[in-house]
Each structure stands twice: as C-alpha cells, then as structure tokens.
C-alpha cells in the first residue's frame, strides 16, 4: 500500500510515522522505532512473542496492520523500566527464575501487565488463562505463573 501518515501514542508519547499502513505493527515498532524488545516468533498470532498493549489490551502486534493503530495507544516492553530499573513484573520474573532463553519474556510480561491492569488479585487459573496465548519452550511455565502471582501480591501491598 501507499505510505500514509499515522499518528498514535507510543509508550505515552504522541508520535507520527510515515509508513505503509498494511505493514504489521510489529515491524513498525522494530524497524521504524527501533523498539526491538517486541519479538517476532511465529508471525501468525500463535506464539505471543510480539505481544504489546493496544489501548490497554494485550494483542499480537504481528497481526495488526499499522493503519489500524491511528489514534490508539500502544505500549511496548520498553515503557516498563524507569531509568534502567526494571518494573515490578520484570523484577518478579527475575526473582522467580521465569526467564531462560528470554525470547518469550517480553510478550509474557506484557500479557501479565494486561492481566494485572484488569485484575489485581488473580487466581493461578486466571494467570494461566492470561498467558495462554504466549508460548515458552524453556521454562515449563511454572516459574512464569509464580512470577505473575508474586507481582500481583506486590501490587496488593502497594499504597494506592
């Protein structure tokens, strides 16, 4: 498709990009914005490595045409840390050993964030459901589930 101007909010900042609207949001993020934390796994919506938040909902960025995000808010893994300090979900992943090769981790962390935005006291079943669209071939999922439960506990302890 012909290139077009696309305005959207990326990690809290208003941005404008001149891009082919039929390109995937995944490539737009990685190539045009250099945000390579979002990974390409299967490229067809089955592995969840490319998960980002679109208007606070977890989505597969590999299945989203760039044209669709005009006027929307997109949050990627890069938005989570502050001055190099990982956020509470990322720290929980480290603490629980929920990372092995690390390729699925950004997607897992974004799915965890989508869950915790909606539900600050998830059951382990709800955690499993929330990451059911994210494949991990190393950890066996147990540590990831524990990490998200730990992050949820910390969220509860935070002053509101």
């Amino acid at each position: 498709m012909e290139k077009a101007r696309i305005n959207f909010i990326l990690n809290g900042e208003a941005v404008e990009v001149y891009a082919d609207p039929s390109r995937s949001l995944l490539y737009l993020l990685r190539e045009d914005f250099g945000l390579t934390g979002t990974k390409e796994g299967c490229g067809q919506g089955e592995c969840g490595a490319c998960t980002v938040l679109l208007d606070d909902l977890a989505v597969n960025s590999c299945l989203i045409p760039a044209g669709k995000i005009a006027g929307c808010s997109v949050v990627t893994i890069e938005a989570l840390s502050r001055e190099g300090e990982p956020d509470f979900v990322q720290k929980a992943f480290v603490k629980k050993g929920a990372v092995q090769c690390g390729f699925c981790t950004p997607g897992m962390v974004m799915s965890a964030h989508a869950l915790l935005k909606e539900n600050t006291d998830p059951s382990s079943e709800e955690v499993k459901m929330a990451i059911s669209g994210n494949l991990c071939r190393c950890t066996g999922y147990k540590q990831i589930e524990e990490a998200i439960m730990l992050a949820a506990e910390q969220l509860k302890d935070r002053p509101t």
Binding site: P21, S22, E46, N60, I64, K68
Partner: protein
C-alpha cells in the same frame, strides 16, 4: 491504495460505494492479515454502532464489531446467551479474542468457528446493510456460501449485528469443544445447544455440531427425536447415539480421523445437551 479507519457507519458505506480499487471491509483482521490483501481496506472495527450488546423488546442484539473478549465478559451474554459467552472464551488466545470480532468469526466462514456455532444454536440472524442502505437479514448458517466462503460481500456490504431471542427462564444454552490443547488450537469437534424444559420434558431444542458441513450444522433428526423426552441420563445417552449416527463427518490429517470425529460428535452432543438442560433447570429456581 489506502487504509481508512471509518469515522462512522455512514462514512464506511460511502467509502464502500466510492473507493477504487474495489475496497474490502476489515474488522479485527486476525485472519485477514495472513491472507492476500486488496489495495483498499476500510476498517470498521472501531465503530461504536457495531459494538452494542443490548436487549430490546425481547431481542438480544450483539454488534458485529463486538470482540470475543467483550462477548465473553458481558453479563448479559453470560446469562442470556451462555453458549455464546462460552464459545467466545475458547477462541484462539486472549490476544486474538481482544482483536477478533464476532462478525469476523462468521464472515471468515471457517466450518467450526466457535462463535458461529453458538450463534446458530441460539437461532441468531445476521443483519446486513449494503452501500445503497438497504437492510437484509439472514440466519447465521445461511451466511456461509461454502468452506471458508461467506455470502457476505465485504466489498459492498457490512454485517451490522446479530439478533436473537435471549434465553428465557425455562431455557438454557451451552457450548463445548474438544481440541488438542486448551488454547490456540482449532477444535476437532465443537457443539452448542439451546434447550427449553417444560415439566421435566424437553419442549424445544437446537443442537449444532461442527465441522460437519461447510457451515455449523443443526442435527435436525436428533433434535426432533429428543423433543418430548425427559431430562435425564438416559436421554443424554440416547442423544449421543442419535447425534453420532446423524452427523456425516470427514476426517482430517491434521486434526483427527472421521471415526474419531464421529465418536466425538456423540460425546459432545450428550455433554452440551446435559449442561444446557441443567442451566435451564437452575434458572427456574
């Protein structure tokens, strides 16, 4: 060559009429994105008009732009169209359910599209509008033209919503599926039922299974034989035999053999009818 996010329904219809090359409507895009793209796309997934979930004059209206996640999370759908809420919980993954719409699920026309199977069991009709503003209504199973083909022309018309009678206090509905995994797996078989119970007897029933034919398929003979039968294990066992006998299924190298699928049709038919009937009984109390 363009991608336009329509600001409202009228703009979308005008664009359909005037755009060149011939445009195509896109909603969630989770299937379309992996296929060949036309040069001009009109995105209707953000239109509020298509996101309604409401009950009006004893009709439940669910917009075609409602995502699977929205339908699965709606109290109205959970209570009055339980089969649809359950089906929507099982589609793809959370990420897919956040983008994929009910309209897309039906128009993509996969034989065992979960939401479509539930909608057929609930007796839903699709309401369509074309770019000349004329409206037509069609039962959801009649929106299928063949395997993975819809009668809906995405270059000239828009599916607005699904309409059907909400389940009454003496009715229940349910959806079940059997797949290799709980997420991100197409079903080997799925089934949905809507059932009405009067004085402990089945007074009306819709039983839908897929994939049997190109569209979700009602097992009409089984339905007819079940009417008037008492609610109970014997009836569900009989339903298993009837359903497995009636459904003519094909095997698939990827998913399962025809024999296994036939067996599953029976098992799931019994299971979905039992669950729907229990719901009808519980609601009365």
């Amino acid at each position: 060559m363009s991608y336009v996010k329509a600001a409202n329904l009228q703009e979308a219809l005008n664009l359909l009429k005037t755009s060149t090359p011939r445009p195509r409507v896109i909603a969630g895009g989770t299937d379309l994105f992996l296929q060949d793209w036309p040069g001009c796309l009109i995105d209707i997934s953000f239109l509020d008009d298509l996101k309604i979930i409401e009950e009006k004059d004893e009709v439940l209206e669910i917009g075609s732009g409602v995502t699977h996640a929205m339908a699965a999370g709606s109290d109205l759908v959970k209570y009055k169209a339980t089969a649809l809420a359950e089906a929507c919980t099982m589609v793809g993954s959370p990420q897919i359910r956040n983008m994929g719409t009910l309209g897309g699920n039906v128009i993509n026309a996969a034989p065992a599209a979960d939401a479509a199977v539930a909608l057929v069991a609930l007796g839903a009709e699709g309401v369509l509008i074309d770019c000349g503003n004329s409206i037509r209504r069609m039962p959801v199973d009649k929106l299928y033209a063949g395997y993975n083909h819809s009668v809906v022309d995405c270059g000239s018309e828009i599916l607005l919503k699904f309409v059907f009678e909400p389940c009454k206090p003496d009715e229940g509905s349910a959806f079940v599926r059997f797949a290799a995994r709980r997420a991100l797996a197409l079903p080997m078989v799925n089934a949905a039922a809507r059932i009405r119970i009067k004085d402990g007897l089945i007074s009306a029933v819709h039983l839908v299974v897929a994939p049997v034919k190109p569209a979700p398929t009602r097992l009409l003979k089984t339905e007819a034989k079940l009417c008037g039968k008492p609610v109970g294990e014997e009836t569900w066992f009989e339903a298993e035999q009837l359903a497995a006998g009636e459904a003519e299924v094909r095997g698939s190298l990827l998913r399962c053999s025809a024999d296994y699928r036939k067996h599953l049709v029976g098992v799931l038919a019994g299971r979905v009818l039992r669950t729907a009937a229990l719901r009808a009984l519980e609601r009365k109390v």
